[in-house]
């Protein structure tokens, strides 16, 4: 099946050739030409055939344009109890007027000086990252000044309107100065049911002793495809924590790469996927321990029902120099239907000899014995199921430090576990 993606990306690039990013785009274009779209046999995409899905879903692509949203729409999108700053994006472009001024934080459109684009999320590592680099529409730069501790969380509201174009390619560069601290909460609001392909790249450059938390709720359109590449460099004494909650979408693929580059740095990756219908969620994570005395923690959990599918691929790479590394990884899944599938693949590659690493994965059904125990105490079967599933999922949410957002996530998953499951 030949698809327009095979031939048209270059046309799209030509459309963009007048802007400031020619050199960056040229690198992306070359990397994409070299890799092409992943084939059915590509190791990194063997459980998630995005190429086929894209071909089945789209006849053509049009880069999505920015659009107007009202203050009312923004207000309605904010979850209960939220207290903090707001950044508004429409199809990946910044809406400055509706976004907060945040002391010590600069949010601007990327300028031509951004030669660093692609230096963290390298285009040669992933074809979709390369594709984004060659063809992204509007880039955003978020800079947190040195010594700035943003006390309240920053809510990133991504409004998506696929009637303004079905190819949405956010490109974000985040730079945290030394000792900077911030918490981002990312949410998506879909204004149309029309299918889209979201292909984002986020590069996050942490400073020394900087502490960044990045939380995200993924509720993609039911017929839509989402591809995300997030990569971060973590320097000495710095930490980065990601919590990702995937709730819907036709096919969702998240690449999350953490590079631990300075001693005493720490990377944390937490994820929860609750899937039903035909949703396919693939979390691919990679943590690269390059230096001694760094730590990484990872916990991904999934509850899958109907014909949905989950994929987890977690790689821990410990280089020869990275002695005294602590690296922990865990993936647990509950399958609630006969037709739900999980593919889980932990990968540990350890070249140092004085490290503490562990990994484990489990896939099973809901524990019938536990269910009976709760029932035997008078708790109704549905409620007992909900309690057990919530207990299973709740462990991931404990890693959310912002109380209001954690409560919001708890409501989201309780709604899900109470109704759809």
């Amino acid at each position: 099946m030949s698809t327009l993606l095979d031939t048209h990306p270059l046309d799209l690039i030509l459309d963009q050739s007048h802007d400031d990013f020619q050199e960056v785009r040229a690198v992306g274009r070359e990397a994409f030409a070299k890799q092409g779209l992943p084939s059915a046999k590509a190791e990194e995409y063997k459980f998630t055939n995005l190429t086929k899905r894209l071909a089945q879903t789209f006849d053509s692509f049009e880069l999505a344009a920015a659009f107007d949203v009202s203050e009312e729409q923004v207000k309605n999108a904010i979850f209960k109890g939220f207290d903090g700053h707001i950044l508004v994006f429409t199809n990946g472009s910044l809406n400055q007027a509706l976004s907060s001024e945040i002391t010590g934080v600069e949010v601007t459109s990327l300028s031509g000086a951004s030669a660093a684009l692609g230096s963290i999320a390298k285009p040669e590592k992933d074809p979709f990252a390369a594709f984004n680099q060659a063809t992204f529409k509007n880039g955003i730069q978020i800079s947190i000044a040195k010594n700035t501790q943003v006390e309240q969380p920053i809510l990133v509201l991504n409004f998506i309107d696929s009637t303004k174009g079905n190819l949405i390619q956010p490109r974000v560069w985040v730079e945290a100065g030394d000792f900077a601290e911030a918490t981002f909460i990312e949410q998506q609001i879909n204004l149309s049911d029309k299918e889209y392909f979201l292909n984002e790249v986020k590069e996050i450059k942490g400073g020394r002793n900087s502490h960044i938390h990045w939380y995200r709720v993924q509720n993609e359109g039911k017929t839509s495809i989402s591809m995300s590449n997030i990569e971060t460099d973590i320097q000495q004494d710095g930490t980065f924590t990601s919590v990702n909650l995937s709730l819907s979408g036709l096919m969702v693929r998240n690449n999350l790469n953490l590079n631990l580059l300075g001693s005493n740095s720490e990377g944390n990756m937490y994820g929860l996927y609750l899937t039903n219908g035909k949703t396919h969620v693939d979390n691919h994570t990679n943590v690269d321990h390059t230096i001694p005395h760094a730590e990484s923690n990872e916990l991904y959990k999934g509850i899958l029902t109907d014909n949905s599918r989950g994929v987890f691929n977690g790689k821990i790479f410990v280089r020869q120099d990275a002695q005294k590394t602590n690296a922990f990884q865990q993936n647990n899944n509950i399958l609630l239907s006969e037709n739900a599938i999980v593919n889980t693949k932990p990968q540990l590659e350890i070249w140092a000899d004085d490290v503490k690493c562990s990994h484990g994965c489990t896939t099973g059904q809901l524990d019938e014995e536990a269910l009976f125990y709760l029932q035997a105490r008078g708790i109704g079967k549905e409620k007992a199921r909900g309690l057990l599933l919530y207990a299973f999922a709740g462990e991931v949410l404990e890693n959310i430090k912002d109380d209001a957002f954690r409560s919001y996530c708890i409501t989201l998953i309780q709604e899900r576990l109470g109704t759809n499951f």
């Binding site: 009976f372 125990y373 709760l374 035997a376 105490r377 708790i379 309690l387 207990a391 462990e395």
Partner: protein, 253 residues
């Protein structure tokens, strides 16, 4: 209160209970004894509603109602309580939240208002004394990391909270040291009243020194082959089960 007539039950095609008859009245304590594999735990499980057993014949009525028609949670709300032989560890579910949910679901069924947090805690503190259970245990996930003795004590604590009319203790004494056994039995005895009944399933006579039964039944090959008073338990302790087995085999010839 409980009436079992000709109860037959099997699991995966193997018949385990082969015609049990038992009458339990309010205020009574019945002990069910028997060698391993005689069907004691199956009887307890069937009464509590464990789904893997198939009832092939017979009937069970509880307070005049067909017990076998009810889901496990409905039986619990009606006042049946099973103290598990192997209490289940449930990570992520806090003991306190679990109990409050359970108590309030049972109360709702009985037409009572749910307990608010303060009243619930007061009740919990009062019942904790009964089984000398530490509050620290209850702030943890349900049974997670509890020792064997702590789990059994927690069972009796839950029993105290749920105030059942029929309590079935399935090998609650197994694995307990003498101190724990004393605490657990003491809890059970304090909960005993003229309005409720207890079925004690045990392998050892020892428990019956502490929880004194009105009747003792011996279960063998899925049938009650002998019934008597507490003296029967003493006789079993002394002579073992072989003489009963011999009696049964002889009668069969």
């Amino acid at each position: 209160m409980l009436s079992i007539k000709n109860l037959h039950a099997s699991i995966e095609g193997n018949e385990i209970l082969r015609g049990i008859d038992l009458e339990v009245k309010a205020g009574e304590v019945h002990a069910i004894m028997g060698p391993n594999g005689s069907g004691k735990s199956t009887l307890a499980s069937v009464l509590a509603g464990r789904e893997e057993y198939e009832i092939t014949d017979g009937e069970v009525t509880f307070k005049g109602e067909d017990l076998l028609e009810l889901a496990p949670e409905e039986r619990a709300r009606e006042g049946v309580f099973l103290a598990f032989q192997y209490p289940v560890e449930i990570p992520g579910v806090s003991s306190t939240n679990f109990l409050r949910t359970a108590v309030n679901q049972v109360r709702e069924h009985r037409g009572l208002d749910p307990l608010d947090a303060v009243k619930f805690l007061t009740m919990m503190k009062e019942k904790m004394k009964l089984v000398e259970i530490d509050q620290k245990l209850l702030s943890r996930a349900l049974n997670e990391g509890f020792s064997g003795g702590e789990k059994k004590r927690n069972e009796i604590f839950q029993m105290a909270m749920l105030e059942p009319t029929l309590s079935i203790l399935d090998e609650t004494d197994s694995g307990l040291d003498i101190d724990a056994l004393r605490i657990v039995s003491n809890g059970v005895n304090q909960l005993k009243s003229k309005d409720n009944a207890t079925i004690v399933v045990t392998h050892y006579q020892r428990l019956l020194d502490y929880i004194v039964p009105d009747f003792v039944h011996v279960l063998y090959k899925g049938k009650i082959v002998k019934s008597g008073t507490k003296e029967l338990a003493l006789e079993l302790e002394e002579k073992g089960y072989d003489w009963i087995k011999a009696d049964v085999e002889q009668a069969a010839v």
